[in-house]
Subunit: 507 residues, 2 copies
C-alpha cells in the first residue's frame, strides 16, 4: 500500500486554445488521482514568480501523464508557451472564502477582509460559486455604509485610474427604463456650457440598448485611458464604453454571476457605480433614480432612501452627488434599440425631440449646470433648454462624434434601421393605460437589439394617449426576417401597449 | 447590415475526451457570435428526441465553423458519436430559475416548483451558480416543513428505489464527530437480533473517514441495487456506499456546491438524509444528533429542535424515527482514519473496545432493538450489550464481511496501517482539557486520510485524563513520509490535544 515519497508536481504545458468561464486546466486522470484532486476542484499553478488558481477538468486521453492542458485565459495570465513546465498543487480554500462565509453569517466585514475578497475575485482565485455566495450574502444580509465604502475602494484598486486637473462632472442612471437615451443630450449640453463631462457608459446586459450601444451607432466608443482623457479634455465631453478602459475589471466578473441570478444587490450596485466614477476622476455627479413599474426602485420612499445612502457614501469618496428622482414607468421618448435611439437623440438635438426625452434630459443637465455654477440656482433647466434650442448642443455633439472618430455630418435619416418591419395595431378604440417596460424590452431584444444595431421598437402611442381601432401602436424593426417574426409573436403574446375603452362595464 | 435569413443551428460533433464540472460544449467564436452566445452562457442541444443543456466555451482554432466540441458528460447523456449532427440554440433561463428567485425573496415554494428545481438540477439544466443560489436561499430564508417534505420527495424521484417486504431499520448520524465508527458495531448487533438493517453510508467529503471508507477496509462497499437488497435480506445487515446505488443522484450535485461554500442548510440536510432513507426502503430509524464543540448542533436545545423537525417530516414520509442526542465534543473511541477505525471497531466487536465507542454503539443499537420489539422497553442497551458480549455481533460482522466479498477471518492485527509513524508528546504534566475535533480532522487528512486508508491518528489520551510530561498524546500514521511531516507540522501548530497544569497561577 505504501507508495513511497515520489511526488509528481511538475507538468508539461499543452496549450489548448479554448476560453472557459473560469481559468481551467485539463489533467490526466492518473495525475489527478496522485494530486488528490477531482473534477471541479481547484489547483494552484506556479510558473517562475507567477501564480494562478484554476479549476480542474479530467481526461484519460487528451493529455498524457505528466502533461497539463492549459486554457487561453490561464496562458495569458501566466504568459505560458507550449512545452514549458509548470508546478501544480491542490489548493485549500483561499482565506477570502472564510470572509465570504462570515458575511453569509451576517457579520460585518473589515476593510481588509473586503479587500481580500475583491483581490481574489480579480485574480480568479475564487470560483463562480463563491462569488455568487458573496453577492447573495450582500443581497440577504446587507452591508453597512462603511462596508460599501470599503467595497468601492477595493474595486477601484483592481483597475486603472484616470485623473483630471479640473472638476469632472457626470450623470448616471441606475437603469431599468428602456429608451433612456438622455446621456446623448446631456453630455453635449453640459460640454457646451464649458464644464467637463467625461462620461463612461455600459453596454446592455439585459436591456435592448446601453448608452454605449446607442453611441456606437454614431461613433466608436472603445478607448484606452489616455485617449479617453485626451478627447474629454479637448472637447469637454465624451461618451465612451467603460469596459474598454480597464477600470474596475472585477465589476465584470461580479456581473457575470449577478446576471444568471437576476439580482443586483444595493450594496454592490452602489459600490460598482461609485468605483467606476472614482476611477475615471469624477468628483461631481447627478444620479438619476427612476421609479415606477419595472424600475429598480418601486416608489418615492425607496428612491429617497437609496438617494440618501448614495450621497452619504459618495461624499466619503470625495464625490459631490445630487440625485434626481424621475418617472420611469414607461420608456423615455418613443424609440428602443441602438439605431432608433441614436436617431431620436439626434432629432432631439436638432430641436425635434419628444417632450419626455427633452424634459428629462434638460432637467438632469440643469442640475449639473447648477452644480458647476454654469447656471444660477433654480435656473439650470432653463439654461439647458437654451443650449439645446440654440443649436449649441447639436454642434457640440458633432464635435464629440468627430473627436471619437465618427462622421460629424451624420443626419438622422442616414442612420440605417432594420429593413424588416412590422406593425402592431390597436384592436379597439380607447386609451393607452399601460406601456409595459419589461414587455417592450423583451420584444426589442427578440427583434435583435442590442447586437443588431438596426433592431428595435418605435412606440407611436404612450400612456394616456387616445387611440382608434387600427392605429399603429408600435413598429418593430429587425435585420432578419426570422427575428422579426419571433418579436412579432412575442408582442402578440405580451401586449406591451395596453388599451382600455371608455366603456368599462355594461349592465 | 442585413445578414439575410440564414440560420446556423446544426453542428457536427467533435468528441472531446474531457470531463468538466458542468456539461460543456466548445463552439467556434464565429458560430457563437451568430448564435448570440458568449463564454459561460448556456445552450440547449437537441439530438433526435434527446435534449440537454450545456455551458458554452469558445475557441478560434480548436473547432472549426459548423463544428462543436462535446465533453464526455454530454456525450454520455445524449449518446453521441464523432461526426454526428446536433442542433444548438441559446437558452433563456429555465423556468425553475424563477422559482429559485422566488425562494431568494423568501417566499414559500409549491411542491410543483420544488420538483421543477430538483428535476432541472438532475438534468444539469441549472448551472452551479444557480444551484448555489438555491442552497443559499435555503440557508438564509429557511423552508417550511411542507417545503422540506416536497424537497425530499422530489429528490427521491430523481433516482432508483429499493423496497423490502418487511420492516427495515437504520441508524444515521448527522455527522461532524471524528472517529465515529459506531455503525460497524450497530449494524451487526441489530442484524444479530434478527432485525433487518440495510445501511447505506457515505464516503468522507470533509472528514478523515466516512463509514463507507472505514467499511471498505474490511470489504467492498460498491453494490448495485439488486445486490444490496439480496445481501441485506440474506444476512440481515449490510454496510454499503450509498453512492454506488444510484439513489438520489441530485444529492451529489447539491453537495458539490455546498462543499466549497462550507454550508449544510438544515432543510437540505433533512431532505438529503430522509430521501436516501426512503429510497432504500427504510421505515424505522434512529438518528444520532451529536452536540458539542465542532458539531453541527451546538447545544441541547438546538438538537431538540432539530430532532422535533426531523421526526415530524419523517413521519409524513412514512418513517418512524427516534433521535438520540449524544456527546460529540471529542472523537468517539481513540482512532481516526479508515484502517485505524476499522481495526478499533473489530477490536470492540471482540470485546476489547474503548468505553466511549461501546457505550454509544450499544445505546443507539438498543434504541433500534426497542423500536423493533427485539428488546423490551428500557432494556434495549442491555440486550445490545449482551449481543456484543456473547460474540454474536462479531460472528454476524464476519458473515456480513463475507457476504460483501471481504475476508471473514480478518483479525485486527491483519489490517495494514501506514508505515510512517510519529508521536506527539506532552510537554508538561497536567490534565487534558480539550481534544479539538476540527484540529484532529485536519491532522488526519493531512496525513492522507481518507484516500490513504492506512493514514490517521490514534489518541492515547482524551478529555479529563491525567498526563505526565513526555507521555505520547497521539500517534500519527501515514503512508508517505512527505504527508507525515506535513501532518506533524500541522499538529505542532494546531495542538489538537490541550493540557492544563494543576497550577493555574503563581503570585
Amino acid at each position: 500500500m505504501l507508495k513511497g515519497g515520489a511526488k509528481v508536481d511538475s507538468f508539461e504545458v499543452r496549450l489548448f486554445d479554448v476560453d472557459f468561464d473560469e481559468l481551467t486546466v485539463i489533467l490526466n486522470v492518473n495525475d489527478a488521482a496522485a494530486l488528490r484532486v477531482n473534477v471541479g476542484d481547484r489547483v494552484k499553478i506556479r510558473f517562475g514568480q507567477k501564480e494562478a488558481n484554476a479549476r480542474v477538468s479530467l481526461s484519460r486521453t487528451y493529455v498524457g501523464k505528466g502533461e497539463v492542458g492549459v486554457c487561453r485565459g490561464l496562458r495569458d495570465v501566466l504568459g505560458l508557451t507550449e512545452g514549458e513546465r509548470i508546478v501544480l498543487e491542490p489548493v485549500m480554500f483561499p482565506r477570502s472564502s472564510e470572509y465570504i462565509h462570515k458575511k453569509m453569517r451576517g457579520e460585518e466585514l473589515s476593510a481588509g477582509e473586503i479587500r481580500s475578497i475583491i483581490r481574489d475575485i480579480a485574480r480568479r482565485e475564487l470560483s463562480r460559486v463563491e462569488v455568487a455566495a458573496f453577492v447573495l450574502a450582500e443581497q440577504f444580509k446587507g452591508m453597512t455604509d462603511s462596508e460599501i465604502e470599503s467595497l468601492t475602494l477595493a474595486m477601484i484598486e483592481s483597475g486603472e485610474r484616470i485623473e483630471f486637473k479640473e472638476r469632472a462632472f457626470d450623470k448616471h442612471s441606475i437603469g431599468g427604463v428602456p429608451g433612456n437615451k438622455v446621456s446623448l443630450l446631456i453630455v453635449p449640453i453640459v460640454a457646451a456650457s464649458g464644464l467637463l463631462i467625461p462620461k463612461t457608459s455600459s453596454k446592455a446586459i439585459t436591456s435592448p440598448s446601453g448608452t454605449a450601444d446607442t453611441m456606437e451607432v454614431l461613433a466608436p466608443v472603445n478607448f484606452k485611458a489616455e485617449e479617453f482623457k485626451e478627447i474629454a479634455e479637448r472637447t469637454r465631453g465624451i461618451i465612451a464604453w467603460g469596459g474598454s478602459l480597464n477600470i474596475v475589471p472585477t465589476d465584470d466578473l461580479i456581473i457575470r454571476v449577478e446576471h444568471p441570478l437576476m439580482i443586483d444587490p444595493v450594496p454592490q450596485m452602489i459600490a460598482s457605480i461609485l468605483a467606476k466614477k472614482v476611477a475615471v476622476g469624477i468628483d461631481n455627479m447627478v444620479l438619476d433614480i427612476p421609479i415606477g413599474e419595472g424600475c429598480k426602485t418601486r416608489d418615492e420612499e425607496e428612491a429617497r432612501n437609496l438617494a440618501v445612502k448614495f450621497i452619504k457614501i459618495a461624499r466619503k469618496l470625495g464625490i459631490k452627488m445630487q440625485c434626481g428622482i424621475t418617472y420611469g414607468g414607461q420608456p423615455v421618448g418613443h424609440t428602443i434599440g441602438p439605431a432608433l435611439e441614436a436617431k431620436e437623440a439626434l432629432e432631439a438635438l436638432a430641436g425635434k425631440g419628444p417632450l419626455s426625452l427633452v424634459e428629462k434630459s434638460t432637467a438632469l443637465a440643469g442640475m449639473i449646470l447648477e452644480m458647476g455654477e454654469a447656471a444660477m440656482a433654480g435656473r439650470g433647466q432653463e439654461v439647458a433648454r437654451e443650449i439645446l434650442r440654440s443649436g449649441r448642443a447639436l454642434s457640440k455633439m458633432r464635435e464629440i462624434i468627430e473627436a471619437q472618430g465618427g462622421d460629424s455630418r451624420v443626419k438622422p435619416s442616414d442612420i440605417p434601421l432594420g429593413s424588416h418591419v412590422t406593425t402592431v395595431n390597436a384592436e379597439s378604440d380607447g386609451y393607452v393605460v399601460r406601456v409595459d417596460n419589461e414587455a417592450i424590452k423583451l420584444v426589442a431584444r427578440a427583434a435583435g437589439a442590442p447586437v443588431d444595431k438596426g433592431a428595435g421598437v418605435i412606440l407611436r402611442f404612450k400612456r394616456g394617449y387616445k387611440v382608434s381601432r387600427g392605429d399603429t401602436l408600435m413598429e418593430i424593426y429587425s435585420e432578419r426576417e426570422s427575428r422579426l417574426s419571433k418579436a412579432a409573436a412575442l408582442a402578440a403574446e405580451l401586449v406591451p401597449v395596453q388599451i382600455e375603452g371608455m366603456l368599462l362595464g355594461k349592465i
